[in-house]
């Protein structure tokens, strides 16, 4: 595959194509958006019912208080990782293939974290007491407990959400200026306000590039810390199967894995809906799939090493919970996870699969299903067989929990589609830079080839004479 593909795209065409995506998507866009809005309404109805009737309607009156809402929270936090983290890492390593895909990946981060943030509120039941997590003392002078991983979560997620929004926004300013220059009506006003007077002056570009790199430097350790802290919610307890040293890196690898799978899903979806075939190329899909495969193998290793350490440590409590996971009432969740997240990614070892967009689409959904099951099997099975037999109970999620879970997918997709309709989901200026540099590199190679031909001719002439 040529390293110089996309070099012949005109800059004006890039503007035209991306701006067209804000105006006229395929009709499937509206169908998907309608389905998502319907799902969100169902979720809202379920939440109102739960709010009025109490958490018992979500089967939270058993001694099994952490279940689907917490699994979903961990899943969506994990999903939020790849976008910003990969964008930042690929920016710092000068991987130019990130340019057409990083914008929607960063948007994915933002909307995943917004979806994740809803679940602790829903899980709390007493929604009106949510502000207790804020760092100020109550009327008896008692502050929130900063020693609790749950409060670390609040601090980490707030930092991550605000930093990700700023990273996304700063990276979008030059594109917002392009939109401003071409828009009319309410869009013109919106883009004018958001582009804050960007004109592409050299001083603006210099400050922009420095800022963007500095933000990326902050976001890489931040993203790692956020999911490590979410892992601490479990690992800091003394529950068998949760109190594991390798949980933070295991969570980070899992987060990257599910996020990469989500990037692939959205890649294919946007490519089709907004007709981005020229920008979201097979070459980029190939690289994204290889990266996902590599991360899947890291996750596999950490997963298997966790099982191995429990098995060889021979700790009776840990071992019992492990056996219960594989052969107890939740066994199909664990085996399903292993099939979807451990075995299925090996399909990406084949080039034919990596180059087939729809095969990658369905595979990415399977991987995400695997990672969602992984979150569920982290939370529920250990609670059903822990140190305290009086709390042993096998509880399956009820209709309310399932409705809210499905609605969360609708909520995420709805926000994402609205974003793509209002803001450019492909970075125009970065794709122009990519085209510019590839064109330059290509002409340099052509010149080198020409020099080589000349040298060969001179040698041939010398040989003849």
């Amino acid at each position: 595959m040529s390293d110089y593909s996309m070099k012949d795209i005109e800059w004006a065409k890039i503007n035209r194509d991306v701006l067209a995506s804000l105006e006229s998507p395929r009709k499937e866009f509206w169908i998907v958006l309608s389905v998502c809005i319907f799902l969100v309404l169902c979720g809202a109805a379920a939440e109102v019912y739960q709010y009025n009737e109490g958490l018992g309607t979500a089967l939270m009156n058993k001694p099994h208080f952490w279940q689907l809402y917490i699994s979903n929270f961990v899943f969506w936090i994990g999903m939020s990782h790849s976008g910003t983290l990969l964008s930042a890492i690929l920016l710092l390593t000068h991987a130019d293939w990130r340019k057409p895909i990083y914008r929607f990946a960063e948007a994915m981060t933002l909307f995943s974290i917004l979806t994740a943030a809803i679940f602790p509120v829903i899980h709390l039941g007493r929604v009106w007491d949510m502000y207790w997590v804020l760092p100020y003392p109550n009327e008896r002078g008692i502050w929130p407990n900063f020693r609790s991983p749950l409060l670390w979560d609040a601090a980490a997620i707030t930092t991550y959400a605000t930093s990700s929004i700023l990273f996304l926004y700063v990276g979008m300013i030059p594109d917002l200026a392009i939109c401003r220059d071409n828009a009319k009506g309410w869009r013109k006003k919106l883009y004018t306000a958001l582009s804050i007077g960007w004109m592409g002056r050299a001083s603006e570009w210099m400050a922009f590039r420095k800022t963007y790199v500095l933000l990326a430097c902050f976001l890489v350790p931040l993203a790692v810390s956020v999911h490590s802290i979410v892992a601490s919610d479990f690992a800091m307890s003394i529950m068998p199967d949760w109190h594991i040293t390798s949980f933070p890196p295991y969570f980070v690898a899992g987060a990257l894995y599910s996020g990469c799978a989500a990037i692939i899903t959205l890649f294919v979806l946007l490519r089709y809906v907004f007709k981005f075939e020229d920008y979201m190329t097979t070459e980029i899909m190939d690289k994204t799939a290889k990266l996902t495969f590599a991360i899947a193998m890291v996750w596999n290793y950490l997963n298997l090493s966790e099982y191995a350490s429990i098995w060889y440590s021979n700790d009776m409590f840990e071992k019992e919970v492990l056996l219960e996971k594989f052969f107890g009432p939740y066994h199909w969740v664990v085996w399903g996870m292993l099939l979807c997240a451990l075995v299925a990614p090996f399909a990406m070892a084949f080039e034919k699969v990596r180059h087939n967009m729809w095969a990658m689409f369905w595979l990415s959904l399977v991987l995400q299903l695997g990672m969602w099951l992984e979150r569920f099997q982290i939370v529920s099975p250990p609670l059903a067989s822990n140190h305290e037999p009086w709390t042993w109970a096998v509880v399956w999620p009820g209709l309310i929990q399932l409705t809210i879970t499905v609605a969360s997918f609708g909520w995420f997709t709805m926000l994402f589609l609205i974003f793509c309709k209002v803001f450019p989901s492909v970075s125009m200026y970065e794709v122009k830079e990519m085209v510019f540099h590839r064109r330059k590199a290509s002409s340099r190679t052509d010149m080198e080839d020409l020099d080589k031909v000349k040298d060969d001719m001179i040698k041939a002439e010398e040989g003849l004479s």
């Binding site: 900063f146 930093s163 804050i196 002056r201 001083s203 500095l214 810390s225």
Partner: protein, 178 residues
């Protein structure tokens, strides 16, 4: 006192190399006649080599980042340490330390990053001169595929600069006094 009016020429070029040539020629003109107050380059993408022709930009954004991060670390640590002290007076902790360092490091870490990010954004706005109003002579083509050269010049000598812009192949020239 009446503000001195500024006179601008804005040339649009279809190639970065032409823009580079025009800046060199304008600099030569300025060396000879001392008529140019400032030259600015507008482009749809970043050209790092622009510093070679316009000179180095002094933008110490990283200093803001550094001191912002330090401030964040100190503030976050003080918050959790002060909260722990306050808790000590109302909730006896037994034998546990009043200020547990390993726990507090987590919040301090997040505070460091949060303040570091905010101060970087503030520095970006300061050094890029944003937010600002669009200039009258700004051309939309600059956000598409053209390069713009803005020359702030003595109005009595603007003809010479205009001639340079035309000679180097300007697609369009705009002239504004403000």
């Amino acid at each position: 006192m009446r503000r001195r009016q500024k006179h601008f020429l804005f040339g649009v070029f279809d190639d970065f190399e032409k823009a580079r040539d025009v800046v060199s020629e304008l600099k030569v003109l300025d060396l000879k006649e001392k008529v140019i107050d400032n030259i600015e380059l507008y482009s749809p993408i970043e050209h790092p080599e622009v510093e070679e022709i316009l000179g180095t930009f002094h933008q110490p954004i990283q200093r803001f980042t550094f001191f912002g991060a330090i401030t964040g670390a100190v503030c976050a640590f003080l918050l959790v340490a002060a909260a722990a002290q306050s808790m000590f007076t109302v909730q006896p902790q037994g034998g546990k330390p009043v200020i547990p360092l390993p726990m507090d490091i987590v919040i301090t870490y997040e505070g460091t990053i949060m303040f570091g990010v905010y101060s970087t954004i503030v520095a970006f706005l300061i050094y890029s001169g944003l937010p600002r109003r669009l200039k009258k002579y700004y051309s939309q083509k600059v956000s598409e595929d053209q390069i713009g050269i803005e020359v702030q010049i003595d109005p009595t000598k603007s003809d010479k600069a205009r001639a340079v812009l035309e000679k180097c192949g300007a697609v369009e020239i705009r002239e504004v006094t403000q």
